[in-house]
Each structure stands twice: as structure tokens, then as C-alpha cells.
């Protein structure tokens, strides 16, 4: 067991964790942040994407102990309670959500992209979410949702 301080969605948490615990497991099991999904647990589906220090990251591939002192943003922190981030609004409006299991992951990838590049091309959007597998939508509506926010 290791005692760490984890900074998640602007709040700091003192936690006792096992050294081999992934950030994904700690977010879900210890902090009850179930919005970050586990689709493969091996870095290949993107459902667990969060933002760490501004960069998109696969939380199933990072040990929680490594996240000490870093700023972690999860889907729950994307917008203040009761509000929606423009990307979330746009996802609903563009029919970009079917089963929704991939949704938090690609929203975080999109947020990181737009923070970095506020006016991406469709190609750049596709590249940014290429690590986020979606079996339901065929991606088109996801891309449209992201591009619509970029245009605003």
C-alpha cells in the first residue's frame, strides 16, 4: 500500500492504493468516478481516456502512483455539475451517442484536441479519435459533433 495525493477534477484526494493499481481502477473503485469506462484494460480501445496535465491519456495503462501531483480531468469534470460542456451538447445534438460506452473516452480526446488546436480539420479530428474505438456509430456523427464545436 502506498499513500498518495491524487488531483482529480480540481479536487485533491488522499488515497491508500496498491502500487500496481491503474489510474482507471483507482478512479472507478476508490473515487466512484464510473464515467471512465473499461473496454479492454490493455490500452487498445480508448474507453478509459482521461486528460492528464492537458494531454489525453489511457488511464488503464498508467499506474495511479505515477499520477501523484498531476492534474487529472475525467468526464465528470468536463463541465460544472448541472451544466454541459459544448462538446457534450454537440454530441447530443449530432446523434453521436448510441450505446454511449465509448462516449466519455472520445469526449476527453476531443477536449484535449480542441484545447490544443481550436480549429482542426476533419482529418485532424479523425486522427485525434483514432484511438477511441466505437462499434456503434461509424464515427461520422462523432466527427461532426466535434467539428461543430470547433467552428463556434
Amino acid at each position: 500500500m502506498e499513500r498518495i495525493t491524487l488531483n482529480v477534477n480540481g479536487q485533491s484526494h488522499q488515497l491508500n492504493i496498491k502500487v500496481n493499481e491503474t489510474l482507471l481502477d483507482v478512479l472507478r473503485e476508490q473515487l466512484g468516478l464510473f464515467g471512465t469506462k473499461k473496454g479492454c484494460d490493455s490500452g487498445a480501445c480508448g474507453a478509459c481516456t482521461v486528460i492528464i496535465d492537458g494531454e489525453p491519456a489511457l488511464s488503464c495503462m498508467i499506474l495511479a502512483v505515477r499520477c501523484q501531483g498531476r492534474e487529472i480531468l475525467t468526464i465528470e469534470g468536463l463541465a460544472p455539475e448541472g451544466e454541459l460542456h459544448p462538446l457534450q451538447e454537440s454530441a447530443i445534438e449530432h446523434g453521436a451517442v448510441q450505446c454511449g460506452f465509448c462516449t466519455p473516452g472520445w469526449l476527453m480526446s476531443a477536449k484535449a484536441l480542441l484545447d490544443e488546436n481550436p480549429a482542426p480539420s476533419r482529418r485532424e479530428v479523425q486522427a485525434a479519435i483514432a484511438g477511441n474505438l466505437c462499434r456503434c456509430t461509424g464515427y461520422k456523427q462523432i466527427e461532426d459533433a466535434i467539428l461543430a464545436v470547433a467552428k463556434k
Binding site: R28, L33, F34, G35, T36, K37, K38, G39, C40, D41, S42, G43, A44, C45, A47, T74, I75, E76, L78, A79, L84, Q88, A91, I92, E93, G95, V97, Q98, C99, G100, F101, C102, T103, P104, L107, R123, V125, Q126, A127, I129, A130, G131, N132, L133, C134, R135, C136, T137, G138, Y139, K140, Q141, I142, E143
Partner: protein, 767 residues
């Protein structure tokens, strides 16, 4: 019919209410559920494709701190299955595929359970194994189920004694031999299709709690709670009222994969032994690939007799379906496949043989398209072979033969109606400028279409409960797996009751409270459950008007509902909000609970492929433009045009979403997803090596909704989502042929295969 009627919400595309939860990470899926005292289960899986289990020693694992219990198949004398029960909860006596569950462990956490698996010792005696369905079907082949003759399948399942064939689908209409004799050209081709995994991004999961009186509560992401309930009750020999299935609020993708007992079986196995405590089993991605369910690999031999001018006289199709180690939905897949093996075409003489064969491979069952991807791969590829040989336009050849309203379906003998396939083909042709557009060098275009029967005849029931505040709850056991049924059912109820859409909610299925539904499968929900909720809403409407009549001292026939209010048609000042009517009636003069049941009353089916005729057909056509790199064999898809017949699109954006999603799954099957097996072992059980199409791989898609209204559908609607993947692979193969003149007959179409075919002709880069 309904086309000129104006609707409030039907035919519009209101925003999905579930999306609001899902974008905030507030959608609850099975893995997000926690019950007090919950244990975690893990399953030890077979390393052999076919072997006798000689001994299982769990003693060391049992001593591990944190282990609560271990169960093996020997303790569970139960077999389950939807139409041909043959599968134990955990292997008993022998294992029949690599990845089959042998023992299960419950522990205080997942890590401990995982650790215990490594301490269980199993001794096997390896048996000869069969992987190829044609070899496995041969007389004298090693038996995978020696006891098959003792299984009690449904009457429609016809096993062949003494073999590995557990269902033989067979029929002949007309006289194929005579048809072949009269033909000027005979075409004989063999096509093959591989396995495919559903790859729902959410894995299978279940939590099971069983008390000492055998009362079972199962929280699960199963697609069909009532079907699940009966399968469990039958397997365990307990009354079905002891089994309660509670759906997780949301399911993260299904595509047919979450229909049997997968994680359910493992959780039940453990909970049967360890009582009074909830036990959760969640599949890993590797288990998804190796131990859940796959699409049937198939070998399809198709022989067609054609006259000089292109009239098709006779077609004979023989299909071998590799169903893997257990029957699962295989019997129905092969039956649906039998009905449509000859294609959606008027062909006077047809003979079908389908052999569903046990193999020592992962269990195959329901997957989006449900036989359509296999059958259409063969008949649509061969249509273009015929057209090429006879110098005919492939579109023209199809249009001349496709079923239209009033035709008799060759397999089912029924008179066809609401058949929009010709329109689908024509729409695709117009969009892709089939006549007239010239393509560049090494570019080509292809077209393909398909039909598939919807599961018939099965019923759906619903309640529509109107609350004191005028809001409405739909109690229905249709599961929301991503397809959007929740929104469509809400739209129908809002339409019927004249209330705003956001006043209508849909309850999460629970067999203790939500009424019967056969299944959320086969694109049947909009049609069947749509009708059920429509009937229930009409019933609720009458009840509201009755109550309002009393309060307004008016004959209810003078009243109507609109905008959440009761209106007097003759006296516009008499208006009362529904909320006020119910608020004043509840607890005194009455409540409102509408009841609806829909069952398609269809004439009996010809022979017994279905016990009735098919209530509607899933229909669609795709066109594709490609460019082939002659040196590397790489195929670039320039554009996909996809038209599907929705009857009436209740939510057009949702239909488009189903088309776009289907294209990506069809594209995966056609060109990317290469399930690699070696002696029954899955070599690539991960998203790293089993490649799904990503955003950068998707071509431009033009989705087209065709609306050939169905007389019995709600507002004319039929189902649409299940087969939007289906015509893509043959359309792609036909486009490649059109571009460079090579014909690929086995899926997936990889650059290697294209290159090899080019090299055979002396082209392409040699390696």
C-alpha cells in the same frame, strides 16, 4: 396509409434522452453497479480444443486467503440453450473448445480470484479435434457431442443422427434439376466467410444472487430478460417465477452478442454454490474473443442455371455453418440462412441444404445480420459473376429478378408486401450515377443487396402508466443497447397521448415488473414493441378521457388529447391539463394504466422453416466505389452508398446512425477483421491485433432511407438496424472485380489476397 398524416414527434428526430446521461458519464452500465457484500468471480478456461477432463484439483486455490468458494462443472448437472440445450454452465466430463469454462472462483476481489485460477490443477486427455465444418460434417468424423441424440431440442431443430450435424435445413421448390437442364449456362462457385466478433466496447457482465430457496436475482447486460429467464429456469429445473432478471440501465453495445448465457452462466454457477451473496462476473476482452460468441464461419457452395438472356431458372445452395462447440442460436441462424440462401430473387426452382455443424471452436451464434452476411456474400458475388459472363449490367440483372409486392417468396411461399428492395437498389444507383459516371483508371464500382426475415411470430407486451402529475412511464422489457429503442418507444407514446416527449420515460426492464417481451433482437422492437406500446397508449388514452368525462361532465367521445391537455372538441373553453385530470382522480375515481400486447397473426409457414410466415423483411442495398493499387493489392474505398428500407423512419437521424454504424461493422467484416485461429486457438484476442475500423479508416458514406410502409407497422415502420452491415462485403468484392477484374471469394478481402490474385495474372509486386 399514414404518409399524409401530420405527426407531432414521429418522423422528426428528437434528441435522445439517454445521451444526456451518457455524455456526462452518468449512464449506469453493469460494471458500474455495486451490491453490498458483492464477491468477484473469475473463470478458469480450457487450454485444449477437445479433451477429456481427468481430474480437477482445487485444494491449493481454496487455501488462498480471500477465496470464498470454487465450483466445477461436476457440481452443476445442468445444460442450457435457447432451442437445442446442450451447453453446461461449466464443462462437464470434457471440454469442446479452447476457452471453455472449466472451474470458477469467487473471491473478495478480482485480483485474488485471478490469482486462485493459477493454483487450480486440471489434467486432460487430449482428443482429436475438428475445426472445419465440412470435415466435421463428414460421416465417421469424431463426435463432439456423443450424446447429441439425447438432447431435447425444439421441433424445428433437426439433428442428423450419429454425426456432428445438429441441424439440417432442407427444402426444394420447383425442380432444380429440370431448371439446370433448361439453362444455357451453369455457374458453380464456393464462397467462404470467417468468424467475426461483436466487439461491443462494453464486455459481458452479470451479478447473480441466489438465496437458500433457489430464488435467483440476476443483474445483467443481457439483451432479452424474458428469454434469459426461461433459459435459466429450464436449465436449473426451477419454476421461472423464481428467476428475476434485472437489466442494467444501459448496455454498451450488443449486436446479438449479449443474447445467450455468457457471464450469466458463470455468475449463476458460482451463486448456485455460494448462496445469499451477490457475485459479479465481468468478461475480459480476451474472454470476449475466446469465450463469448462469434459469427458463424461458413462454406457456401452455390450453383445457378441461367438462360442466355440472363433469366435465372434454378439455384442450388449448400451451406456449412461452423457453430462451434455448442448450439447457442445456431439452429435459428441456419434456418434464417436457409430461407434467404437463394437471395431476394424470383427464381422458380430452388434447392437449399444447410448443415449446422459442431466444431471445436468458440461458440457461434447471433450477430448483426444473423446469416445475412454469409448468404449475401455468396449470392451477391455470384450475381456479378453471372452478369460479367453474360455481358449484362449487374444492376439490371438484379432489378429484373428482385422480389416486388405481389410476388411469392420462394422459400416461405408467402405473398410479398412492403418490399422496398427495388427502391433501395434504384436509390443507390441514382446516387452513385450508375448510368453515366466515368471512373478513373483502376477504379471500379459494385453494387449488392440483401434480404433477411425478421424473427416471426413472437409477441411483445407493454404497460403505459400515467402518473398523477401527467408524466408517463412505459413499462416494457425492450433493452436499450444503443440502438435507440428507448427514444422511439417514447416518441410513439408521446404521439398517441398528445403529451410532450420529455413527459415520457421508459423503465429499465425487470421481469418482476415490466411485462413480457420475446427479445430485443432481429430489429423487431420498433415493429413489435412499437405496436405494443401504441396499443397500450391508446388504452391509456381512453382511460384518461373516461376520467376527464366525469370531471368535465361531458361524454368522453367529445374529448380529445393534445399538448398535454384534455380538450372538448365542441366546447373550446372546456380544457383540462392531463395532470389535473389525474391529480383529481388518483386515489378516488380511478387510475390510468394502459395495456398493450402485439403478436403478428400470420398464416402458417410453408413446411416448418418458421412456424409462420415472415411478418416483414429487412432489406437494403449498398453501392461502393473503389480504387485498387495494382502493385500492392491495397483497396481504397472512395465512397459507400447505402439504402435501407425502414418502412417509415420514426426517428430518421437514428436510422442514419444505424446505417453509418452498420457500414463500419460491414467494412470490418469485409476488409479488416481477421480472426486468426490455429488449431482452435485464437491468435489475436485483442484490439491490438484484431483490427476494427477506426475513424481514420472510414470512407465517406451516403446513407439513404427508403420508406416502403408496412400495413401492420406502427405508422408503417419496420425494423432496420440489424442488417445495415450486410450488403457491404459483396458490394466491395464486386467493385474490385469491376476495377481490376479479379474475383475474391473468401472474406476478409485483405491486400495479400488481392495481390496474390493479381500475381496469378502476372501483375502486382512480387514479394
Amino acid at each position: 396509409m399514414n404518409s399524409n398524416q401530420s405527426f407531432i414527434t414521429v418522423g422528426k428526430s428528437p434528441l435522445r434522452a439517454d445521451a444526456r446521461d451518457k455524455v456526462r458519464g452518468k449512464g449506469i452500465y453493469i460494471d458500474d453497479m455495486r451490491l453490498p457484500g458483492m464477491l468477484y468471480g473469475k473463470v478458469l478456461r480450457s487450454q485444449y480444443a477437445h479433451a477429456r477432463i481427468l481430474m480437477i484439483d482445487t485444494s491449493e486455490a481454496e487455501r488462498l486467503p480471500g477465496i470464498i468458494g470454487i465450483v466445477t462443472g461436476e457440481e452443476l448437472p445442468f445444460i442450457h440453450g435457447e432451442s437445442f440445450p446442450d451447453e453446461p454452465l461449466l464443462a462437464r466430463g470434457k471440454v469442446r473448445y479452447m476457452g471453455e469454462g472449466v472451474a470458477a472462483v469467487a473471491a473478495v476481489d478480482e485480483e485474488t480470484a485471478e490469482k486462485a485460477l493459477g493454483l487450480i490443477k486440471v489434467e486432460y486427455e487430449e482428443l482429436p479435434a475438428l475445426f472445419d465444418p465440412v470435415a466435421a460434417a463428414a460421416p465417421g468424423a469424431v463426435r463432439i457431442h456423443e450424446e447429441m441424440e439425447s438432447y431435447k431440442g425444439k421441433p424445428l431443430v433437426r439433428p442428423v443422427k450419429g454425426t456432428n450435424i445438429l441441424n439440417h435445413v432442407q427444402f426444394e421448390r420447383g425442380d432444380v434439376n429440370q431448371g439446370f437442364a433448361q439453362a444455357d449456362h451453369i455457374f458453380e462457385d464456393t464462397f467462404t466467410t470467417p468468424a467475426q466478433q461483436h466487439c461491443s466496447i462494453e464486455p459481458h457482465g452479470s451479478i447473480c444472487l441466489i438465496d437458500k430457496d433457489d430464488n435467483i436475482s440476476l443483474w445483467t447486460n443481457n439483451d432479452s430478460p424474458y428469454r434469459c429467464r426461461i433459459e435459466i429456469a429450464d436449465a436449473l429445473h426451477i419454476p421461472m417465477t423464481k428467476v428475476r432478471i434485472i437489466s442494467a440501465p444501459y448496455t454498451g453495445g450488443n449486436f446479438g452478442g449479449k443474447g445467450g448465457l455468457k457471464a450469466e452462466a458463470c455468475a449463476i454457477a458460482l451463486a448456485w454454490k455460494i448462496r445469499n451473496v451477490p457475485i459479479k462476473v465481468l468478461y475480459t476482452r480476451e474472454e470476449e474473443f475466446c469465450s463469448s460468441i462469434i459469427r458463424h464461419p461458413s462454406v457456401i457452395k452455390i450453383k445457378t442455371g441461367v438462360k442466355n438472356g440472363g433469366t435465372i431458372l434454378a439455384r442450388e445452395v449448400t451451406t456449412y455453418w461452423a457453430t462451434g462447440a455448442y448450439a447457442e442460436k445456431g439452429p435459428t441462424v441456419s434456418r434464417f440462412g436457409g430461407i434467404s440462401s437463394a437471395g431476394p430473387y424470383n427464381i422458380p426452382n430452388v434447392k437449399i441444404n444447410g448443415y449446422l455443424v459442431y466444431t471445436n471452436t468458440p461458440v457461434a451464434g447471433a450477430m448483426r445480420g444473423y446469416s445475412g452476411p454469409q448468404t449475401s456474400w455468396a449470392y451477391e458475388s455470384q450475381m456479378d459473376i453471372i452478369a460479367a459472363k453474360l455481358g449484362l449490367d449487374p444492376l439490371e440483372l438484379r432489378l429484373r429478378h428482385v422480389y416486388q409486392d405481389g410476388d411469392i417468396h420462394t422459400a416461405t411461399g408467402q405473398i410479398i408486401h412492403a418490399e422496398g428492395l427495388k427502391k433501395c437498389l434504384e436509390e443507390v444507383a441514382v446516387r452513385m450515377e450508375w448510368q453515366g459516371k466515368t471512373l478513373g483508371p483502376n477504379q471500379g464500382r459494385g453494387i449488392a443487396c440483401m434480404e433477411r426475415a425478421v424473427k416471426t411470430p413472437f409477441g411483445s407486451a407493454a404497460f403505459v402508466k400515467v402518473n398523477e402529475d401527467g408524466t408517463v412511464d412505459i413499462l416494457s422489457s425492450t433493452t436499450e443497447v444503443g440502438q435507440g429503442s428507448e427514444t422511439i418507444l417514447r416518441q410513439i407514446v408521446a404521439e398517441e397521448l398528445g403529451v410532450p416527449l420529455n413527459a415520457v420515460r421508459k423503465a429499465t426492464p425487470d421481469t418482476a415488473y415490466t411485462p413480457y417481451d420475446a427479445s430485443t433482437t432481429s430489429s423487431r422492437s420498433t415493429f413489435h414493441m412499437g405496436n405494443a406500446v401504441k396499443i397500450a397508449a391508446a388504452d391509456a388514452r381512453q382511460q384518461i378521457l373516461q376520467l376527464a368525462g366525469k370531471l368535465l361532465s361531458t361524454d368522453p367521445v367529445n374529448l380529445t388529447l393534445a399538448d398535454g391537455k384534455v380538450l372538448d372538441k365542441e366546447n373550446p373553453v372546456k380544457v383540462m391539463p392531463i395532470a389535473a385530470v389525474l391529480g383529481q382522480s388518483y386515489g378516488s375515481s380511478g387510475t390510468v394504466l394502459g395495456r398493450g400486447y402485439y403478436f403478428p397473426e400470420m398464416p402458417e409457414g410453408q413446411e416448418t422453416y418458421f412456424s409462420s410466415q415472415v411478418v416483414f423483411w429487412l432489406l437494403g442495398a449498398h453501392g461502393i466505389e473503389v480504387e485498387v493499387n495494382r502493385r500492392t493489392g491495397e483497396v481504397k474505398i472512395l465512397k459507400v452508398y447505402a439504402a435501407h428500407d425502414a418502412g417509415k423512419a420514426i426517428h430518421p437521424d437514428n436510422v442514419k446512425g444505424q446505417i453509418l454504424g452498420g457500414i463500419s461493422m460491414g467494412l470490418g467484416y469485409a476488409a479488416y477483421e481477421n480472426y486468426e485461429f490455429k488449431e482452435g486457438n485464437v491468435l489475436n484476442p485483442s484490439f491490438l491485433s484484431y483490427k476494427l475500423p477506426t475513424a481514420v479508416d472510414m470512407p465517406g458514406v451516403v446513407p439513404v432511407i427508403v420508406e416502403q410502409e408496412h400495413q401492420d407497422g406502427p405508422y408503417g415502420a419496420k425494423g432496420v438496424g440489424e442488417t445495415t452491415n450486410v450488403p457491404l462485403p459483396p458490394a466491395l468484392a464486386n467493385a474490385i472485380y469491376n476495377a481490376v477484374g479479379i474475383r475474391i471469394k473468401s472474406l476478409p478481402i485483405t491486400p495479400d489476397k488481392v495481390l496474390a490474385a493479381m500475381q496469378e495474372r502476372g501483375e502486382g509486386e512480387s514479394q
